[in-house]
């Protein structure tokens, strides 16, 4: 299962509630404003670090770059749109809008 999260976790609870449903072995893709969850040093960094213990977290490179960020929290994997498509090949998708 791939959860796709597009809201900024700095202002929305979306990522947190998504993680309540994401179980071991699931993946979460952060895209659009969701990518702010991938950058280091924010107030939600600990939430993402905790999640990384049991699930895979991806961030969409194009959206990160658009927003002026490159570096991500250790363990978060960067994917481009082709990688996004690859994740959808591998998993059923649960869009967490």
């Amino acid at each position: 299962m791939l959860f796709t999260v597009n809201k900024s976790p700095l202002t929305s609870d979306n990522l947190k509630t998504c993680l309540r449903f994401a179980k071991k072995g699931n993946s979460v893709l952060l895209y659009e404003d969701g990518v702010y969850g991938a950058i280091p040093g924010t107030k939600v960094e600990s939430v993402v670090k905790e999640a990384l213990k049991s699930i895979e977290v991806f961030a969409l490179k194009e959206d990160l770059k658009a927003r002026g960020f490159g570096e991500v929290i250790d363990g978060v994997k960067l994917v481009d749109y082709a990688g996004f498509v690859g994740l959808v090949e591998e998993h059923n998708v649960c869009p967490w809008l």
Binding site: T17, F21, K23, V93, L97
Partner: protein
């Protein structure tokens, strides 16, 4: 689409897909829950497996006693009551979401199964299509 000429009788059990409607948004603030409801009512005419999960602000969709006259929009909440008669298999409500909103099952306008997110995790993975509204 190729599927158009298949009618429901022609679909065998194995052809059925599992559709889950994930209702996570409050009613009236946006069109989403109403949009989801309208898809469910149409999809019910197809012979598929339909479940609905209300989580986060989506649980507010099921609150009893909605009266929308004052804001001049259509009250669509009563349609949620008939979903079971439309053949929707399961109506689930996320327990934590309900509790965080100070609500109890008796506040809801239809009978639902209150479930934990742990129980739902596996269920989500077993779905073929998840539609977010």
């Amino acid at each position: 689409m190729a599927g158009e000429d298949l009618n429901e009788e022609e679909r065998s059990e194995e052809d059925k897909k599992k559709f889950l409607f994930l209702m996570r948004k409050a009613p009236y603030g946006s069109i989403y829950p109403q949009g989801g409801l309208e898809v469910i009512l149409i999809m019910a005419a197809y012979d598929q497996t339909i479940s609905v999960l209300f989580a986060d602000d989506g649980v507010f969709c099921l609150k009893k006693g909605q009266e929308t006259a004052g804001i001049h929009v259509k009250d669509f909440s009563s349609a949620f009551k008939v979903l079971e008669s439309y053949g929707v298999e399961h109506l689930y409500v996320d327990k934590t979401s309900l509790e965080e909103r100070g609500m109890k099952p008796e506040d809801l306008l239809t009978g639902v199964e209150v479930v934990s997110s742990d129980e739902m995790s596996g269920f989500l993975s077993g779905q073929d299509v998840i539609l977010p509204f």
